[in-house]
């Protein structure tokens, strides 16, 4: 008897607590407040500046939550798993989370919406990016930023070592890096991402240019083909022999970029969308000497990735989908896409690339490099699977192994076996 009353009381209290929790304001069906989660990016800074414009014209209020890439992923994991409805618009990575979110039905189907608005001109989006934001024939996201890998280099160091032009091939890159490093003690010939998972995307262009890929057409793992082994040996070897001293195997773009912008490296391969970090005087010491070139050609030619790095989608559990769509309509619309492109963020709409104003603000050599990359680019920069994070760790292992002096070929064999097992598990 006594026991039952305890349970009764506790239940009553719990019920009271949860009822109060529901009483909060904001959100809900047709709410005038749209909650938008965005990543730290130049795109986000640009869009925040013009938000008042949108709020005025639409009569909606936009609440922005801005997070770093990792925190953003974690936040989505927690909230979407819980079926939370307090996210309306989500900025996400189609190649990293697209399949996972699609499979879990986290993203609302926008197919009807994109087609119903002719002014939005859905047909203007490039085909590759649209493919990445489509899941099982449904449009679940709108690509807003594209990325290609380019070569960042130091013009002054090249001139000093007697080179008149940046390397056209990977062989030349190695030779120039070695010479510059020998001529300038304390400066590394080459720097790039070294973290096991972080490096995979930037390594992919090397892999493609050597003629390899992560997976073949039949879905088999191919990270131990002759081409892949050469690519691992080249990338890891270049960092080991001509990279910074005491090289860390945890570097993502921010650490590698810091080494380059502090003037401690001659060459750097990285996504072009990050170029402002090297040309902004408040962040970089090499503003006057930084140059850009197309990704150097390997045995299979110059094959950098050309991918949609970020997209906007709507949370399927959101009760404010119509207003969320209004935000996307504006933020991914033609006008904003051109404004972003002009401000240095490469877009996914064909029209902004065709418009001369779209590339006018880019450094001239970067615009040229972008054109080359867009033409030859490969549409992915990581294995296209559901559990991308895990796959990246597997195919990234030979990179760190090679950097620390292990044999690339045997490490690639081990990685391939593990990757095949991973693919088999995922296909089950």
């Amino acid at each position: 008897m006594r026991r039952r009353s305890i349970i009764g009381t506790s239940l009553a209290v719990v019920a009271a607590m949860s009822l109060t929790a529901c009483g909060g304001d904001g959100g809900g069906e047709g709410s005038k407040t749209v909650r938008v989660t965005l990543v730290n990016h130049v795109w986000t800074e640009n869009i925040k500046k013009v938000l008042p414009e949108f709020e005025k014209q639409s009569g909606l209020k936009v609440e922005v939550t801005q997070l770093g890439e990792d925190q953003l992923s974690d936040q989505y994991n927690v909230k979407l798993n819980a079926g939370s409805d307090d996210l309306d618009v989500m900025m996400y990575r189609p190649l990293q989370e697209g399949k996972l979110f699609g499979k879990n039905k986290y993203l609302a189907d926008l197919s009807e919406k994109v087609k119903s608005d002719s002014a939005f001109e859905f047909g203007d989006f490039q085909a590759g990016p649209v493919q990445a934001t489509t899941y099982e024939d449904k449009v679940v996201g709108l690509p807003i930023i594209t990325e290609q890998e380019v070569l960042y280099y130091r013009k002054d160091l090249l001139t000093k070592s007697g080179f008149t032009a940046p390397p056209k091939t990977l062989d030349e890159l190695k030779a120039q890096a070695a010479k510059i490093e020998a001529d300038n003690p304390g400066v590394a010939g080459f720097v790039a991402r070294t973290g096991k998972a972080a490096a995979v995307t930037q390594f992919s262009s090397f892999l493609f240019s050597f003629g390899g890929d992560f997976v073949d057409a039949s879905g088999k793992a191919t990270v131990n083909t002759e081409q892949a082994k050469q690519a691992y040996a080249y990338y890891g070897g270049l960092l080991k022999d001509h990279g910074p001293e005491n090289i860390s195997t945890d570097m993502s773009w921010s650490e590698a970029m810091a080494i380059f912008t502090q003037g401690k490296a001659a060459f750097y391969t990285e996504a072009n969308s990050l170029y402002k970090n090297a040309t902004d005087p408040t962040k970089s010491k090499v503003v006057d000497s930084v140059g850009f070139a197309a990704f150097p050609a390997g045995p299979a030619g110059s094959k950098p990735y050309n991918i949609p790095s970020w997209a906007l989608g709507v949370n399927d559990s959101s009760e404010n989908k119509d207003n969320a769509w209004k935000f996307i309509q504006w933020a991914a619309g033609k006008e904003q896409a051109l404004a972003q492109q002009t401000a240095g963020v490469p877009g996914a709409r064909a029209s902004v690339w065709a418009n001369p104003a779209g590339t006018a603000s880019y450094p001239k050599d970067l615009a040229e490099a972008n054109t080359v990359s867009t033409a030859n680019g490969v549409g992915h920069d990581r294995p296209l699977v559901v559990k991308v994070a895990q796959a990246r760790e597997i195919v990234g292992q030979p990179i760190v192994d090679t950097i620390t002096g292990k044999d690339a070929a045997s490490s690639a064999d081990t990685a391939n076996a593990a990757f095949q097992k991973f693919l088999d598990d995922e296909a089950k």
């Binding site: 009381t9 798993n81 998972a197 945890d250």
Partner: protein
């Protein structure tokens, strides 16, 4: 509301009407007073501790992955079997957890004891020294991690610059495959020794002077006095310090994550059980396996706690 608090021995002359409506409730409340007042706390424990642990326990018996809302199958103890036979990630993580905890605990207690003894007797400028020693304790671990990460950067960090001045070549510190774990241990010791100092100092201050004086009169040296008088008297406090710090060290996450990131570095150099479990759920979305690791970890912590409190009781006798 005051009716609820009215004692049962209230006089029968109390106003009739209000008593009629509240009496059933008030009588009931009076009879169950201790439960009523404890209810919020109990609900809190149920909702925020028991439910999550039970849910984790349930998840550990399923193959939940991708999304916890997705359908999952009950697979019994398969996850436990897989995890306990995993010599690639799980056992190395257990070993690192034990090693990390053992090493930092040893240094924190020894250094903490030494500093506490130094601060025990009053001296000039004591206040400032105490404040300075406690500073690391009040800093946020993530900020501490970021700070040391900058200091220990192999290329642009201060540590290597200082070493350069005294003619020692640059060290890889956090970047090295074998030096990363010791470096994170150093950071942990730097941050948490002050807490041990604080606990031991409190214990020392509460000791009475008489045994010390007696020992001094008997001609005991200062080492003998420490070894045979101070230390045995202080032992219960030392055990408390070890208990608190030990459990905390087992669960260390922030410093490791802030300095080495996901997976404890590219070679999992600093991947402890906590970091591993985090990666399993947040990077791999393998909720079943992750829950299994967490339940095993939970049992390990309970085991350690039990062993330490058992030892404490043994000493008390």
């Amino acid at each position: 509301m005051s009716a609820v608090l009215t004692p049962r021995t209230d006089s029968p002359e109390a106003p009739a009407a209000p008593v009629d409506t509240t009496s059933a409730w008030s009588r009931w409340a009076n009879e169950h007073r201790k439960w009523l007042f404890a209810a919020p706390a109990m609900a809190f424990v149920a909702v925020l501790i028991i439910f999550p642990v039970a849910w984790t326990g349930y998840l550990s018996l399923t193959d939940a992955e991708g999304s916890v809302r997705a359908e999952s199958e009950f697979i019994g103890f398969q996850n436990y079997l897989d995890v306990l036979t995993d010599t690639d990630r799980f056992w190395p993580a257990v070993w690192r957890t034990v090693l990390f905890t053992g090493v930092v605990l040893f240094f924190e207690v020894v250094l903490g004891m030494a500093i506490a003894l130094l601060l025990w007797r009053p001296f000039r400028g004591e206040k400032w020294v105490r404040v300075a020693i406690l500073l690391p304790l009040v800093a946020t671990p993530v900020a501490v991690g970021m700070m040391w990460r900058l200091i220990f950067d192999p290329n642009i960090g201060m540590a290597n610059q200082l070493l350069g001045w005294i003619g020692i070549g640059p060290q890889p510190w956090l970047a090295g495959q074998h030096s990363a774990l010791p470096t994170t241990m150093f950071i942990d010791i730097w941050q948490w020794t002050p807490m041990v100092v604080l606990i031991l100092l409190a214990g020392l201050t509460s000791l009475s002077d008489e045994p010390q004086e007696a020992a001094r009169i008997d001609g005991a040296s200062s080492w003998q006095r420490f070894r045979h008088v101070t230390l045995p008297l202080l032992m219960p406090t030392v055990i408390v310090a070890i208990l608190l710090r030990g459990i905390d060290a087992l669960k260390t996450f922030d410093i490791l994550y802030a300095t080495k990131g996901r997976g404890g570095g590219s070679f999992h150099e600093v991947e402890t059980l906590n970091v591993y479990a985090y990666g399993l759920s947040f990077d791999y979305n393998d909720y079943g396996v992750s829950s299994t690791v967490l339940i095993i970890f939970f049992l390990i912590i309970i085991g350690v706690m039990w062993a330490l409190t058992y030892r404490k009781k043994g000493l008390g006798r």
